[in-house]
Amino acid sequence: DTKLKMVLNWKYQGPQGFFFVAQDKGYFKAEGLDVTIDQGDGSAAAVPKVASGAYDIGFGDLNALIEFAAKKPEEAPVAVYVMFNRPPFTVAVKADSPIKTPKDFEGKTLGGAANDGALKLFPALCKSAKIDCGKVNITNMAPNLREQMLMRGQVDGVFGYVNTIRFSAKLIGVKDDQIRYINYGDYGMDLYSNAIIVSKKLIKENPEAVKGFLRALNKGVIDSLKDPKASVASVATREPLIKSDVELERFDATVKDEMNHPEIARIGLGSVDPARLKTSIDILVEANGLPRTPTPAEIFDPAFLPPAADLPKKLF
Amino acid sequence: MTSGTNVVLIERQPEPSSGEAVPPSHVDSYVELERTTVTYGRAPNLVHALSETNLRIAKGDFVALVGPSGCGKSTILKMVGGILRASSGFVYVAGREVGAEPVRIGMAFQNPTMLPWLSIRDNVMMPLKIVPPFRGQYRKKRKGEFRDRVEALLAQVGLKGFGDKHPWQLSGGMLQRASLCRALVHDPQLLLLDEPFGALDQFTREELWSIMQQLWMTRRPTVLLVTHDLREAGYLANRICVMSARPGRIVDDRVFDAPRPRNLAMTYEPDFVAMTQRLRELIVEARSDEPAVA
């Protein structure tokens, strides 16, 4: 068997059932793969972990990958299967906040984890929404403080993923209608989000394993979409401490809000639209002042995807 | 030196070993041990250091305590000094239970434990920092009057110029003298001296005897002196108590009232030599297993 080490985007959560279903049903095994799956500590953090060789495969943020590839082209991993293809990036404010549009951020204090995807894309948002980033105060905070600091008024808005914030808020007892979201997608930032990324080394040395992995994963995705309950259950067997009902909700919301882009009906889940990817790269390069502009081919390699016919075209 | 001092020896009966304290009429008990027993440790490693010891010392008296090694002399001193509690029985100082009395005590330990982080001067000055009435004046006077007082005392015992040194920079005998200074510096009313001259050569020792005698004659503190030197006991004390081997009791108690000031020549007179000879014999008896009761 080929041994593969994979790192997740975060601690065990419902949507990761995609991977565990594939593992539990022996899809990896059937491809001759022995996959170890470790928890991660952030979608962006998965990128250097794969780049450095600590892991062969990661479930990480495509935008972080673009930034990394711009800075260190030789080491950068490559995305091979995009799972979350809608931009989940948002700034959440209290429902009664005077902030209505990005323009209102000026002079206010926003907070977010330093490696949060939305925070890192904030300069890009500033550009496309034509506001002056320099007039916004940024406070860094641990992700688990985000919603509470918002509700206590210690910051005026917080960066994050819509679903993450929504579920966190729910878990701390904040109702959905107490929070309003200013989504990046509404301001011309149609970016991709989390993808399966693999190291260049693995691609070079064992392309078949990558293909096999994606085949197996794709089956896992399809099974999970059919039976989300079983999918979350396979996460729960690994960590009985998670709350299955909440994670099931999270699974559904992830599928609806983060994976369900209109383009998948056309190209299937996992693949990308090269034009859209190109736009994303340009936005990022300009916003973050990156040293160079990676080509879409550097970022995403469709060569390992299962046949387009096998990719899910409809998620629910 | 004047010779021919009158050496008068009065043998007194030791207090009954049953433990019933019969206070000698002339003693008004500035220090009093009443059926005091001291045991160290716990069973089965219990050590009986003192057993039902009685001792009364009049105010202003000068008492020497002699006895074989390990008999409990230091134990008695520590108890009177308030460092040790009796396992049973009572210890009174100035009519009150030990610890509660408003008496200035000066103690020179068998081992001259000086605080290593302080200079000799600061070590000697410590009682002035702690004991009223000096305590209140310490901040003001420690650089002036008190310092002079300490320097004078150090000079008297031959340690002039050693005030700035630290304890480990002194020889054994020098440390012992510094320790004596610490015991004397605050003009104590009760002096407890545990072999204060043990590590000194004969001549230095005799000089300090004379200083001690003078101090006693002028300030009249009550003194309890532990010593192994019977000449020293005879020269300095008015009364000599002999202790038995452990568990210690007082087996002989004799008044020795040669006139003061005494001098060294006296110690070579036949009567004096006879007395020390007698004490020697008592100690030898005391060393034997059966406690010798005179």
Binding site: G40, N144, Q148, L241 | -
Partner: protein, 257 residues
Amino acid sequence: MNSNVNRKIASAVLIVGLFAVWEVLCLAFGVSDTVLPRPSQIFVTLWQRFPALWPHTLQTLYTTMLGFVLGVGIGVLIGVLIGWSKLAYDVAYPLLVGFSSVPKVAVVPIFVLYFGAGTVPAVLTALIMSIFPVVVNVATGLATTEPELEDVMKTLRATKFDILWNVGLPRAMPYFFASLKVAVTLAFVGSVISETVASNRGIGNVMMIASASFDVPLVFAGLFILAALGIILYGVFSLIESRITGWAHRKTEFAMG
């Protein structure tokens, strides 16, 4: 004896009282359990989740103890070396101090990279966190040994190692045990931090998962488990200490234990 029992009771009452105050304050000020859960909630969580928590507890205990034992061993070695050689002192101390001033959380990823997630980085982190207090205290204990105690050995023409073994180390024991108490708590912190960065098991992992799902009572249940483990180990060391350094604790005025 009896006063001893009384004291234990009084102390237990006081500690329980403290928890009661915490409980009451939380209730009085309506503190949300996502900020600071009440002790009663924490204990209920502990009780209910115990079967799920137990394997994580064992894992953390295991990595911590392994790292701690290794760290203490290395710490004693370095401490002795520093006490022994001025050169070692000049070289090792700045490096150690510098390294100790750095949050270990920044170093864990390097371990993970070379050893993978899981047990090894946790053990290593526990190890490196235990070293420094031990080094400092052992070196100080050796350096402050009274020279008089060594003089006997010198007249016997004892080797430096003899002196170290028979005088230096025994004399440094009270320092050593003091450092153990600090080191063991740091070892727990170390392994848990490593577990929060990268691992699939252990209390640190539980706490991350719990905090990701805002199950703050579960986070605190994890903290309580850590605290309990720390206290138990501390108790064990105290027992050993009182056997070994009884000679140093013979005073009664400021009496410990």
